[in-house]
Subunit: 204 residues, 2 copies
């Protein structure tokens, strides 16, 4: 438990950068696994600390409350999405619907990103606090940034209805697995959804 | 426990209609409440029986396994939806998008139908068996019946992508509660989504 002891001693200072990054990352990876397996309600800071082999005080030191640990774990899972809005909104506005649709299908098709997304979705559906974290992250980091690239006064509502089309598709295809949608070719879905997303964002 | 005793005696026959209907309904209402509160995994036939004041054997007698009790509880929650596809698909095809959008927003706006819908959504997102029940019900009872009214060879995929738009809107508006969507006027949402749903169903 040298990590925990060290952190306690240095509580008000910053741990040396290299140790800090390694331990912090390990806690975060463990937290993501714990939230994925158990869901928000059944996961505890104590359980995350135990699984990561550190003192619970160290988890609090780096992240704060359980809610803040969850927010940090979600943020990592969403890292590609958080970098993407710029790239998605940049480039010709006429292609934004297709870029956004391809991006969302891409993160769901990739098992490495699908697992944390499923965990977040499960936690958000089951727990009000987790839903609030998810809501803030999506609203602040993704929706507002895409909406800022658009013109109309109802830009945020438009972005959310576009997101609704993609979230619903992910739900039915990857979670509920309704056929023929679950087995449909991704390109066929892009062909159908890209114009719809485009219409929401830039249509009349 | 006279119900339970009576049912055991008459196990292979049918209970008299009036007692049967009352007890059966009570079990079903209790089952819906238990699944709503606890989710699929934590709900047991024994727990439902106890809450309804009957013997577990009676629950099995009427419904079978826990999965079948869940299916029956879900079917009751979906009763309006199960009657609706006819009414929605009947009438001019040009108005089907608006009728479907209004119907789905209607069942989510109404607290009496929203609660069991939320319970079903939570169970389906968290448990594979519950997801399978949900999938079968949606596919057999709703999607195929609406698709049967349409022409194109990809009618079922079209219905599912239309459903995805509405499911995603329900997720973001009523579960995750993203603003401004959560507080937007229902008529504003209908105005934006009805043409999209219509396009999925009857567009090019």
């Amino acid at each position: 438990m040298s990590d925990a002891g060290g952190a306690t001693t240095r509580r008000r200072g910053r741990p040396p950068r290299t140790e800090s990054a390694g331990t912090r990352d390990r806690i975060l990876t463990t937290a993501r696994e714990e939230f994925s397996e158990r869901g928000y309600e059944k996961t505890s800071v104590r359980g995350i600390a135990k699984a990561a082999g550190v003192d619970p005080a160290l988890v609090h030191h780096y992240f704060g409350t359980k809610e803040q640990v969850f927010a940090a774990a979600v943020e990592v899972a969403f890292a590609p999405a958080l970098e993407a809005p710029g790239a998605i909104a940049d480039g010709p506005l006429a292609g934004v619907g297709e870029r956004l649709t391809r991006f969302i299908l891409g993160v769901w098709e990739n098992p490495a990103t699908r697992t944390p997304l499923l965990a977040i979705l499960r936690s958000a559906v089951n727990n009000e606090t987790a839903a609030a974290v998810f809501r803030r992250l999506i609203a602040d980091q993704v929706l507002h940034r895409v909406a800022a690239q658009l013109d109309p006064p109802d830009a945020e509502l438009r972005v959310e209805l576009a997101a609704a089309q993609l979230v619903g598709c992910a739900m039915l295809r990857y979670v509920v697995k309704v056929e023929p949608l679950a087995s449909a070719d991704a390109e066929q879905i892009v062909a159908r959804l890209a114009p719809v997303v485009q219409g929401h964002l830039t249509g009349p």
